[in-house]
Symmetry: C2
Subunit: 146 residues, 2 copies
């Protein structure tokens, strides 16, 4: 049994998912561990509940869709994931919780990260009366060329 899984350029100890769940005060159940590994072991990704579920089943991980939804929301609350809204039809969860924005390819519902460094939104008025400013989402919609 391998002791590490590769993550982009760096490696992550196998017990990494366990640590993250513990830190997030989420009981490391079989399902949550498996999902955490699916989500965080590779490069950054954008998943929908349906896609993640399919992936889990493919890899022989038995999880119900309800648990997928629960976990995605719990991970999001814990700051391990970020929700991205681009398309009324489905919700995307992004493993990249850092500062960045998105390209959205409308034809095939694909999201691509745009690193946040370098991007600036200027000329914004201040938040409306009685409101605190939160996250700024920039979505650049793009279309496949004919």
């Amino acid at each position: 049994m391998v002791e590490h899984v590769v993550h982009g350029k760096e490696e992550r100890p196998y017990g990494w998912a366990l640590q993250r769940l513990r830190t997030a005060k989420l009981r490391p159940t079989r399902q949550r561990l498996a999902l955490a590994r699916l989500l965080f072991s590779g490069c950054d990704r954008h998943v929908t509940a349906e896609v993640l579920h399919g992936e889990a089943l493919t890899q022989g991980i038995r999880v119900s869709l309800a648990t997928i939804y629960n976990s995605l929301h719990q991970f999001t609350e814990a700051g391990l994931l970020r929700q991205v809204v681009v398309d009324g039809a489905r919700t995307y969860f992004d493993t990249n919780v850092g500062d960045h924005h998105h390209f959205f390819i409308e034809e095939d519902g694909v999201l691509l990260d745009i690193p946040g460094s370098g991007i600036a939104v200027s000329g914004l008025p201040e938040a409306p009366e009685g409101c605190t400013q939160g996250r700024i989402d920039v979505i650049v919609r793009v279309n496949r060329r004919a």
Copy 2:
């Protein structure tokens, strides 16, 4: 019977909705005319299908929800409305089709326009390989202060 309806600072001839529908090549039916008046007679607004439907019923306009959805999409295709996605739960339609962005008050699902003039997004990379850039949406999420 008044001959004009007020629209912000300017006035609009009563037959205005009719004109818009004709121009958009949409048959001016009783329902579409009524909805066009509800949508375009006052200030710019952000409506959901449900809200528009309720409003129509309140004013004694008999329309089915299916027709509301049909009309909202037809108006959007005709460029009279613009769809705004901020919240996976429902779709908003904006009567302001000009260049602008939005504040979104998460607590109560309210959208506010931010005039586009003056706002600039700098540092964007070019669209991904084989793609043409479309609209850029900037959503500033804000929260009610305690």
